[in-house]
């Protein structure tokens, strides 16, 4: 498919950033070539320089960054020496970009149709009456149903997947030759990810465009791209055909990445690199063990929220006709489940299915509307959330939060964060004793002691996750709710953290309620899985059974949406 003159030719690219600690080389001596109509994936973990490379190609590096060495040629034009005017006409018309967060990429107070028109008229693609028709046509092309109505929609009226389609529409409006998609589906549900990726690939193939997909997900890259470039710490470590990289990765880093990516049928220990011995001797697989003492029993749990907006107050005066929707919204609609002592239960579903609402209710951070929550024989559901915070029972239910950065107070050091529950609810008293307990916990979660006195922003994502876990287990809880504890982490860090959680569970005898959208991750850690959709449980059962022989259609859809490269993957 490739022609003689490549569309984009990056040679020996080095990008430097001026920081307070001197010059940092984010990208070093990178060579990438993309032919016409080719799809290329740049894969790497955070800090690998994959995004910086693409910013350099578009020449949208921030002020501190500059191309120090090398050359970037786009259809023969030298990007490094091009004037800002040339670049402006190039961006959008010849090469365009899809960003990670579609909501942030759209102007929140402008109708999406007008935003598309802006791009069109900017590059003189159409004008006057034709403009609106063209915009609607483009919305139609990205499979937005009822484009004529959606033309008048504001970004907040559309779902995440819809917004990303609008962003794609913006990027493709002027039929560019090169599309750079920077993590276009991170933050979207798997089923939405599948439709968005299918759409991107289909549209670009149809138009003979070239695509650069920047992602951290090897599976996604291999499924949708011809070739894969693997980057680590600013260097390209391997470039190969998707098939080759998936079946026989050559570079050790690629192999490590491959191993760390959860796939069906893998065991938790398989995620760790070959050369790192498991921290605890291989215990027999816990799946299948019998847990019969119920710890948490949830019955017919309901959470309703009043619908906000026009149905309230003054809005009643202006509303025409009867309310189209009921006054309340049921986020959780009568669900029942049990978590036994020592068991790990996965709670799986897409965003908005009520899984987080359920976990926060069980956590006693918000009050239920109806139903019962029994914890070790006590009806904790009836204790108001406000009072629960200071009860001794609080010690026994703890949580690891989704975003390790957000869940640590930026002004507290790591040790202060870990010590917080000990100081409030713990039995350990005295400055030195608390410090000693924190050090013990740090040791348990594998956090080097010298990091204890650092602030959260001085820690890496994995280290912050460890601090969050140490804080959650500080009081030896019986039940720990894990709310997507690895969603914000790189796969290799995720592998380590998941293994850590498993080891801790075994040594401390805790039960886990693991809330996640990722079935592949859930199957590694959980004995049983509960699948939720629209506030209700659609399926629950032993992990094996749900993943291998799902009963509900929805579970099957979820499983099918996980990107699997079609070629044989038994090579490894």
């Amino acid at each position: 498919m490739t022609e003689v003159v490549p569309l984009l030719d990056v040679q020996d690219l080095t990008v430097e950033f001026q920081t307070r600690r001197g010059v940092v080389r984010a990208v070093q001596h990178v060579n990438i070539m993309i032919g016409k109509g080719e799809t290329l994936a740049i894969v790497g973990e955070s800090g690998s320089g994959k995004s910086v490379t693409s910013y350099a190609v578009m020449r949208i590096l921030d002020r501190a960054g500059r191309i120090a060495e090398g050359a970037v040629h786009f259809t023969g034009l030298d990007i490094r020496d091009a004037s800002e005017d040339q670049m402006r006409s190039l961006r959008g018309r010849e090469m365009s970009m899809i960003f990670q967060n579609p909501r942030a990429a759209l102007n929140p107070i402008r109708k999406v149709g007008l935003q598309i028109e802006d791009v069109l008229s900017q590059h003189a693609q159409a004008d006057g009456a034709a403009l609106t028709d063209k915009a609607i046509e483009i919305l139609d092309q990205v499979r937005i149903a009822r484009p004529r109505e959606r033309y008048h929609a504001y970004p907040f009226e559309l779902s995440g997947g819809m917004c990303q389609r609008v962003v794609i529409a913006l990027a493709l409006a002027c039929r560019p030759q090169l599309l750079i998609a920077d993590e276009p589906t991170t933050g979207l549900d798997v089923t939405t990810q599948k439709t968005v990726m299918d759409l991107i690939v289909e549209l670009t193939r149809e138009r003979g465009m070239s695509t650069v997909l920047i992602t951290h997900d090897l599976g996604l890259a291999a499924t949708y791209c011809d070739r894969v470039v693997v980057m680590e710490k600013g260097h390209v470590v391997e470039t190969a055909q998707s098939r080759a990289i998936f079946i026989a990765p050559e570079h050790p880093y690629t192999r490590k990445l491959m191993r760390a990516t959860p796939r069906p049928g893998m065991a938790l220990r398989d995620l760790l690199p070959e050369d790192v011995p498991a921290p605890v001797p291989q215990t027999p697989v816990t799946n299948g063990a019998v847990y019969d003492t119920p710890l948490l029993v949830v019955e017919k749990l309901v959470k309703e929220y009043p619908r906000k907006g026009i149905s309230e107050g003054l809005g009643k005066l202006f509303r025409r006709g009867p309310s189209p929707e009921p006054e309340v919204f049921r986020a959780v609609d009568g669900i029942s489940f049990t978590v036994n002592r020592g068991e790990s239960v996965g709670l799986v579903g897409e965003s908005g299915c009520g899984k987080s609402t359920t976990s926060t209710m069980v956590m006693r951070l918000i009050d239920k509307t109806d139903g019962t929550i029994m914890f070790d024989g006590e009806n904790i559901g009836d204790i108001p959330a406000r009072e629960f915070a200071t009860l001794p029972l609080r010690k026994r239910i703890q949580m690891v939060f989704q975003d390790p950065t957000d869940s640590l107070n930026p002004r507290f050091t790591a040790v202060r964060a870990i010590a917080d529950p000990i100081l409030r609810l713990g039995t350990v008293k005295g400055r030195d004793a608390v410090r000693a307990r924190c050090e013990e916990l740090a040791h348990q979660v594998g956090l080097p002691l010298e990091f204890l006195d650092r602030f959260p922003h001085q820690l890496s994502g994995g280290q912050k996750a460890r601090v969050g876990i140490a804080r959650a287990i500080a009081l030896n809880p019986d039940l720990v709710i894990l709310d997507e504890p690895t969603a914000a982490l790189d796969v290799s860090v995720q592998a380590v953290v998941l293994n850590l959680l498993q080891d801790l569970k075994e040594s401390l005898g805790m039960s886990y309620l693991f809330v996640s959208h990722d079935l592949n991750v859930v199957q590694l850690l959980c004995d049983r899985v509960i699948v939720m959709r629209a506030g209700q449980i659609v399926e629950q059962g032993p992990t094996e059974q749900v993943l291998v022989a799902p009963q509900a259609d929805y579970t099957r859809d979820l499983l099918a949406a996980i990107p699997h490269p079609t070629f044989d993957q038994s090579g490894h």
Partner: protein, 296 residues
Amino acid sequence: MSNLALPKPAASNTGLGAALRHARYILSDNAVTGFAFGLFVLIVLAALIGPYIVPYDPLASDTSVALKPPSWAHWFGTDQLGRDVFSRVIVATRLDFFIAIASVALVFLMGGLAGVAAGFFGGWTDRIVGRIADTIMAFPLFVLAMGIVAALGNTVENIILATAIVNFPLYARVARSEANIRRDAGFVQAARLSGNGEMRILLAQVLPNIMPIMMVQMSLTMGYAILNAAGLSFIGLGVRPPTAEWGIMVAEGAAFMVSGEWWIAFFPGIALMIAVFCFNLLGDGMRDIVDPQRRT
């Protein structure tokens, strides 16, 4: 764990040494902040030791040298009673600075805490604090300050109180919106799980996090507080003559502007301007110093 290790940590992250290093970095990074900080040091010095180093007694009148233009003997000239304007400008720094600091501290306690509580608890607390702020905002602020001083009496304490009250809405609103964002942040939820009561979360977890923005606010209102105090004195509702105070000096000097004795009002006016300018510039620098994100 080798894959998670960072390069070796910096010498130390806590303690005075680190704070000074950090401050020096901020100051050298931003020349404007450095300049503002220099001015600030000058103002503080003038407030602390000014009265002991000035060449003349600021209150001593000597009609033989009245209304003399700036000279080597009297750098800023003399006023209608023959008092040395330079000495008076320097000595006045302490009073004006004290009024500004005290009123800002007071309004931070009142407005900052009320706003944080309003943003964090929401509901009735929010409504009450919000309506109080609205009520204050409904008056022209300077007129309100005049009214308070006129009603309570012409003393330094009342000037401080009046300045604090007129600034209340600014603090309450900034603190409210900042606290509101953090109300359901992960670390606040985590603090609840750790067994912290709501009040403790408010004071120990939320408040420190909105300090950077409050610092900026305090620095900006310092300038406004000085202007307000001087303004009250200017119209005769503040500090009483013959006390040396910038506002009174400008008021007294204003009458002589037309007859060409410009220096009497000019120099205290300049002092006032420099102080306000300095505090406004300092606001930005302050934010950088207290912001933990910039501390690496």
